[in-house]
Amino acid sequence: MAIRTTKDTTVSWLFLSPFMILFLVFLVFPIFYSFYLSFLGAPTDFSLANMKFVGLANYLRIIKDCQFWSSLVVTAFYALISIPSGIIVSLALAMLLDNKLFGKSFFRSAFFLPNILDMLVVGVIWALIYAPKYGVLAQITSTLLGENNFFNTTGLLGSPYTALLAVIFAMTLKGAGFGMVLFLAALQNIPADVYEAADIDGASEWEKFYLITVPLLRPIIFFMVITGIIGSLNAFTEIYAMTAGGPQVVIGGEAIGSTSVAGYYLYKQFDAGNYGYAAAISYIMLIITLGITYIQQKLAAKKAGAKK
């Protein structure tokens, strides 16, 4: 294969062309197209053709849009709570499974299964579990605590204080298996003699966990943080299925959805027909994502440098 020929190049392009055409049309072109769209207003009628050029108006509107900035804050909360809880739960499961056990692969598969099931369906099921009056949780608590309890009257998804936590709880259970498999693979790669050496030095169980296990798992934790951030910025289906952005809270005269994450707010604007505005929001979100990625890369480089 060492000789580069024109024939080889032609064949290569032929093989590559179906993918490259789709890539250019559906992934590269939209980036520029979206930039163009972000300067257009909402259509005046039900067609997509009649959209006026509004210049920078969409971007100026974003700066003044409290709901957008609050949705970013909600997204940050979502990430800040869901990422650590996801890591803790999946690490705990992995450490339980990291023993010589009969039926290990059964447990591994059972925990992993919810991961591949449709997010919308899982969200709907959990919404019905949490639902006041006819949900499972309401039924159980009303037999135990009487009719007049929080789970039966308001429901976890009905209160702005608990709605986001309830969503995170459901998503943590759904996603725990994924992190567990990653941690399990990494745990099994840690050689046993490291722990034996620590035993000889008289390390306690906690010291062994904190000083050996966690540092060796750092790449996985780092990976889970990155995917967690991307997941939070892309979060939409779980919110759509469980809370629809609500319950509303009024802060400073603005009604703000207590679970309206950025992805859901973007969809709302799109659904309302503010296509230009939605395009502008997605551009801002792109910049935020790239910023976060840049910081992560810097951190990763710094850590790699420090190790050497």
């Binding site: 080889d8 093989f15 992934l27 919810p114 099921i125 990653l182 990976f223 799109f270 395009a279 551009y283």
Partner: protein
């Protein structure tokens, strides 16, 4: 754990917890199996007829036969009290529509009537007695012919309970034997393992409970989704199972069939989950096939071919993976509309055919295929396409299968995009997740219907996972490990 007394006590405690858990879980699973089996034994009409008959039999037995016998032949105080309790029970069961209890009540009232017959020495010669005896035997014969899943399930009770009990006892004996076989100084280790198993089992139950509840609720009759078994609140498997929810969701129940005969509207007739399921299947399979084909062709070039600027192009591809998917929603929607594809099946997957992740994954694998194999094929006179088809594809088949499954999965549950490009009037463009979202808006409190609709999305994927779990788990985690 050095103290033997503490060790034994904790072993007994753990064993007790294990017994309760094993019995509850296996009991529920066996009951679930029996429940699914019995729900298939009767058609909708048979089920309905049986349910109506049971109510009327119970009513007839208690109100006519027992009461009339009391007035015609005169009775004791004891009998009166029994009669009053029967009447009370009948009214309360009729209110809740508890078929199994009504059936049992009928059986008990037949026994009461029989004892009454022998007590009063009624015989066929006596004209009043003749009618009485005939009526009782008519009901008794009628009960035998009933085709009701609820009653069949109730009759299977000893079977599934016995199985659960046998399983639990087997587990206890197994653990006891293991414990006694373990040497004294290893027993602390053994107890630790038991704790781990019990924690894991509880974890599995918590994680999978929503899905089990979904399956159970899907079989519950309409209006009874919330009835909790009073004697055991952990028993969530329905006692009177029915397939009606599935029939309604698929529009093959009698009511929908009649509607279809009257108003023959081909579009309206297709708005059911059978169509949505086929749509999802078609969209996901086509997408998965095309993605794997294009990605393996592309990956072959990036891995084995000489192409100017190959590495730079690959870097650009990888960089594009950083862009969040939400970014593409607006422009891709405009492009699909301008192409005139809005509301078609093509729109569902066309923008997602360029899978950079797929190229990355396949290239990683193809890099491990030695070049000499390709050269050997070329020397034998294979054309480029033949090399690709005969050497590359078979050698990287496991990873191609993985990519196929993952793409299938991501298109199966790609809710946001499919929601955007769905034309709600056209049932041919509605896929499962979108159909479910629509459906939930219509039947907010009909849990049974929503849950049976959810089954169409969950159960096929779960079954697929059973057979191909290795590919799913390794494929999904491969990207992470390599970084």
């Amino acid at each position: 754990m050095k103290n033997p007394v503490i060790r034994v006590i904790s072993f007994i405690l753990l064993l007790a917890i294990m017994t309760v858990m094993t019995f509850t879980i296996s009991g529920q699973l066996f009951k679930f199996g029996a429940m699914v089996f019995t729900s298939f034994t009767a058609s909708e009409a048979e089920e309905k007829e049986a349910n109506q008959k049971i109510v009327s039999y119970a009513d007839f037995m208690v109100n006519n036969i027992l009461n009339s016998s009391a007035s015609a032949f005169g009775t004791s105080k004891e009998y009166e009290i029994k009669l009053a309790s029967f009447t009370n029970e009948l009214n309360s069961y009729k209110k809740t529509g508890d078929i199994v209890s009504l059936y049992k009540l009928t059986e008990r009232s037949i026994t009461a009537a029989n004892s009454f017959i022998s007590e009063k020495q009624l015989s066929v010669e006596n004209p009043t007695g003749k009618v009485f005896i005939e009526n009782v035997s008519k009901v008794r014969l009628g009960l035998k012919d009933l085709k009701s899943p609820a009653i069949l399930l109730d009759k299977m009770g000893p079977l599934y309970r016995g199985l659960a009990l046998a399983f639990t006892i087997a587990c206890i004996l197994f653990v006891l034997k293991k414990y006694t076989d373990t040497k004294i100084h290893d027993r602390a280790q053994f107890l630790k393992k038991m704790v781990i198993y019990e924690c894991l089992t509880i974890g599995v139950c918590v994680v999978l409970f929503p899905f089990f509840w979904m399956l159970c609720t899907a079989f519950k009759p309409s209006g009874q989704e919330l009835v909790i078994n009073a004697s055991n609140p952990f028993d969530i498997v329905p006692t009177s199972p029915t397939l009606n929810n599935f029939r309604r969701v698929l529009k093959i129940d009698d009511k929908a069939k009649d509607m279809m005969k009257e108003v023959n509207d081909p579009i309206e007739n297709k708005k059911h989950f059978g169509t949505y399921f086929m749509n999802s299947l078609l969209v996901s399979t086509t997408a998965a096939f095309l993605v794997t084909l294009f990605a393996s062709m592309g990956a072959y070039v990036f891995s084995k071919k000489n192409l100017p600027y190959k590495d730079k192009i690959f870097k650009v591809l990888l960089m594009s993976m950083m862009i969040p998917g939400m970014m593409f929603m607006v422009p891709q929607f405009f492009m699909i509309c301008k192409m005139g594809l809005f509301g078609t099946k093509w729109a569902m997957f066309l923008p997602h055919l360029a899978s950079v992740f797929g190229i990355f994954m396949l290239k990683q694998f193809m890099d491990t295929i030695p070049d000499s194999l390709l050269e050997a094929a070329q020397i034998d006179g294979a054309s480029e396409w033949q090399v690709f088809r005969i050497v590359i594809i078979p050698l990287s088949f496991p990873i191609i299968l993985t990519l196929f499954l993952l793409t299938f999965l991501s298109n199966w549950s790609n809710f946001l995009w499919q929601l955007i490009v769905t034309d709600f009037e056209n049932p041919l463009s509605v896929t499962l997740p979108v159909g479910l979202a629509l459906f939930r808006g219509q039947y907010t409190s009909e849990l049974g219907l929503i849950m049976s609709a959810s089954c169409f999305s969950i159960v096929p994927i779960a079954v697929l996972f059973l057979f191909a779990q290795r590919y799913f788990i390794e494929g999904m985690t491969a990207g992470a490990v390599k970084e």
